[in-house]
């Protein structure tokens, strides 16, 4: 499904929005060397983070769910580059990449994966549930599709306040089968809400391929009945993603209502750590890894732009150190205080006035 080849990059990212009127993203001039180096760094950071999370899981240091983002890095990194301060992001449980791209601290994310005190949710949320007010990351949500309505609400609040913020609402192609997605589309279109919906079409929702879960063959057009412009994007190309996201965000920010991007991407690992992924062939995964890898793609482009191997190597080394620090931190952080079990259920931990005393 993910089209191969460099020609995919650029103007073609918008080829499917013919049925609704919207500006097509401009042909990609490319990010340029400096920005592409930043993108490269962020993608490598996410990849190495996820690889390490997978290892810690294997060692029994992370329990429960752990959904790795490996393969999809170009999507969040490209979209994030199109945002400005104050824009909000919300996503599902496959959220580590989104948090790192938003600038959250890898140490705090990793410590949450190990369920420790210094994790973003102090060990209560885990891999799927983290939040950062500072970075405008509105969570990690475990009920498939629920974040789409919430992301729409973020946009409503922005419009109500009259600020020019955009909310980016990510969900999977599997989640695109949830009814509340379409209820949200209608509301967002009716109210012209500044929300960018990003479908990360990685081809599989757990073990179900998109052709077995969706009668719609072009998910970028799923908002068309409500007049929501949409485009398919090569989600393995961070420059194509950035260009498409920049155009879409500009549309939202200009008060023209929601926009829908379908990112054609791929997850290399199983759905979660417990998934043996028998529903697809090794060859299929291998082919994507060798022919379409987003990091390798950026690397080639950087070298063509004149970046030196040493420069890339330096980035990789710096990331390596950072990930090692995150892993060390996540293992050294103490277990949560047992008393934490009862805190933060509500804002006030049962105030005296809430209690009607018994005998």
């Amino acid at each position: 499904m993910v089209q191969a080849g460099k020609s995919e990059r650029g103007a073609k990212t918008a080829r499917n929005d013919a049925t609704v009127t919207a500006e097509k993203p401009q042909a990609v001039a490319g990010l340029g060397r400096a920005a592409l180096l930043r993108a490269y760094h962020d993608m490598v950071l996410i990849r190495r983070f996820e690889e390490r999370a997978g290892q810690l899981y294997g060692m029994g240091l992370i329990g429960g769910f752990c959904h790795l983002y490996i393969g999809q890095e170009a999507v969040v990194v490209g979209v994030q580059m199109a945002l400005q301060d104050g824009d909000q992001v919300i996503t599902s449980y496959r959220d580590h990449g989104h948090m790192l791209a938003a600038g959250m601290d890898p140490r705090g994310v990793m410590a949450e994966l190990t369920g420790r005190r210094d994790g973003y949710s102090h060990g209560k949320g885990g891999s799927m549930h983290m939040f950062s007010r500072e970075k405008n990351f509105f969570g990690g949500h475990g009920i498939v599709g629920a974040q789409v309505s919430i992301g729409t609400g973020l946009a409503f609040a922005n419009r109500y306040r009259g600020n020019d913020r955009v909310s980016v609402t990510y969900f999977g192609e599997g989640a695109s089968s949830q009814g509340q997605v379409y209820e949200s589309f209608n509301i967002a279109a009716l109210m012209k809400l500044p929300v960018l919906y990003v479908i990360e079409n990685n081809k599989y929702g757990m073990g179900t391929s998109v052709d077995r879960s969706s009668a719609s063959h072009d998910l970028s057009q799923n908002g068309a009945p409500w007049g929501i412009p949409g485009a398919q994007v090569d989600g393995m190309d961070v420059e194509a993603v950035q260009a498409a996201a920049a155009a879409a965000v500009a549309h939202c920010r200009a008060g023209r209502g929601p926009y829908l991007l379908e990112m054609k991407t791929y997850r290399y690992r199983g759905h979660s750590m417990s998934d043996p992924a028998k529903y697809r062939t090794r060859e299929e995964v291998q082919k994507m890894r060798t022919e379409r890898d987003c990091i390798e793609h950026a690397r080639q482009h950087l070298l063509a732009l004149g970046a030196a191997e040493a420069e890339l190597k330096a980035i990789e080394e710096a990331v390596k150190t950072q990930i090692q620090e995150a892993a060390d931190f996540a293992q050294a952080s103490p277990e949560p205080d047992p008393a934490e079990l009862w805190t933060d259920v509500l804002a006030s931990d049962v105030a005296a006035s809430d209690v009607v005393a018994g005998a």
Binding site: G63, G64, F65, G115, R116, S121, G123, K124, G125, G126, S127, M128, H129, H141, G142, I143, V144, G145, G174, A175, S177, Q178, G179, G205, M206, G207, T208, R212, S213, S214, Y279, E335, P336, P338, E340, L341, W342, V345
Partner: protein, 327 residues
């Protein structure tokens, strides 16, 4: 058939297999139930025997899945709709509580909804706040829904088989921490009938009333109490609708003391209902107030240490019973 080692998971699978073999109106519908064999492996390989027509993989669209099952059941099919996590009741309570549960009554008894919603809940896997709940009180609070919560493999088999003969909607809640639990049993041997509680351990000092995974927690506590000279009786309710108060009341009248143990949280819960009924039906026999030991009134945290502190563990039961008996 002789007794054999079987897991809770395989017993459920066997029940579906046998029901589908015997009754071609039984169809299984849900996310990942077919080719993948179920998120927890309960429907593994059934597709090889019954094909895609009867093991229907759906998109992630729970309200439509349950709604479609209701519609199909109204025509006499027996859908087994799998809800991957009981937490997703949040999405489907309308179809269950406002449609499935009401149809027989509001249409004057002319039509019923013979469907089963198979789902699983509970803690034990660090699955976090949105994948670890015990929501049986929501179901129990809705007249018109049957509710089964098996603890053992034998019950998993027989209660599911029975559920698939009933004329009304059944919510069948499995426990995620029990799937791999093995027991030696003969699935062909009869168990207590549907709707009847079972005494898992006899005792004369106190009655522990529970169901689902907490049966094993209570049994562990009862074994420890026995070493301290206290004989605790453990009752496994098996179904919460119907609720077998006769067995519970008979036991409490004998022991004079009752402790209700649930994994689901305390306030407004199943334990409260049981405690109230025991109080009403056994008042003259009670030596002590009925005590509820239930999950804490908190969302379920991911940290394993916090997670296990959120639900009843044997030491709490032991100390509560000791205090009750002043020993």
């Amino acid at each position: 058939m002789a007794a054999q080692e079987i897991t809770y998971r395989d017993a459920l699978r066997q029940a579906l297999d046998d029901a589908m073999r015997d009754d071609e109106t039984v169809v299984v519908i849900g996310e990942e139930v077919g080719r993948y064999g179920g998120a927890y492996g309960v429907t593994k390989d059934l597709i090889a025997s019954y094909g895609e027509e009867r093991l229907i993989d759906t998109p992630i669209s729970e309200p439509a899945i349950i709604g479609a099952a209701v519609g199909a059941a109204m025509t006499g099919l027996r859908p087994v709709a799998e809800l991957m996590y009981v937490d997703f009741l949040g999405l489907v309570m309308d179809q269950l509580a406002n449609q499935a549960a009401k149809i027989r009554y509001m249409f004057g008894g002319q039509i019923g909804v013979p469907m089963v919603v198979r789902t699983q809940g509970g803690t034990g896997r660090s699955a976090g706040a949105q994948h670890s709940q015990s929501l049986e009180a929501w179901v129990m609070h809705t007249p018109g829904l049957r509710l089964a919560m098996p603890a053992t493999a034998a019950d998993a088999y027989h209660l599911l088989r029975h559920a698939l003969t009933l004329p009304d909607p059944v919510v069948f809640i499995e426990h995620k921490a029990l799937y791999a639990r093995k027991e030696r049993t003969d699935l062909a041997a009869p168990v207590a009938p549907w709707g009847q509680a079972t005494i898992r351990r006899a005792g004369s000092d106190v009655t522990l009333v529970t169901y689902s995974r907490m049966v094993f927690t209570a049994l562990e506590a009862a074994a420890a109490l026995a070493e301290r000279g206290i004989a605790a009786e453990v009752i496994d309710l098996r179904t919460l609708n119907p609720l077998d108060m006769a067995t519970v009341a008979a036991s409490v009248r004998r022991t004079g003391r009752a402790v209700v143990v649930t994994e689901s949280c305390l306030t407004g819960g199943v334990a409260a209902e049981l405690a109230a009924r025991i109080g009403e039906e056994c008042f003259d026999y009670l030596e002590d107030p009925v005590i509820r030991i239930a999950g804490e009134d908190v969302p379920i945290p991911v940290s394993p240490a916090l997670e296990s502190a959120a639900i009843p563990q044997p030491p709490v039961i032991i100390s509560v019973v000791q205090r009750m008996l002043r020993r």
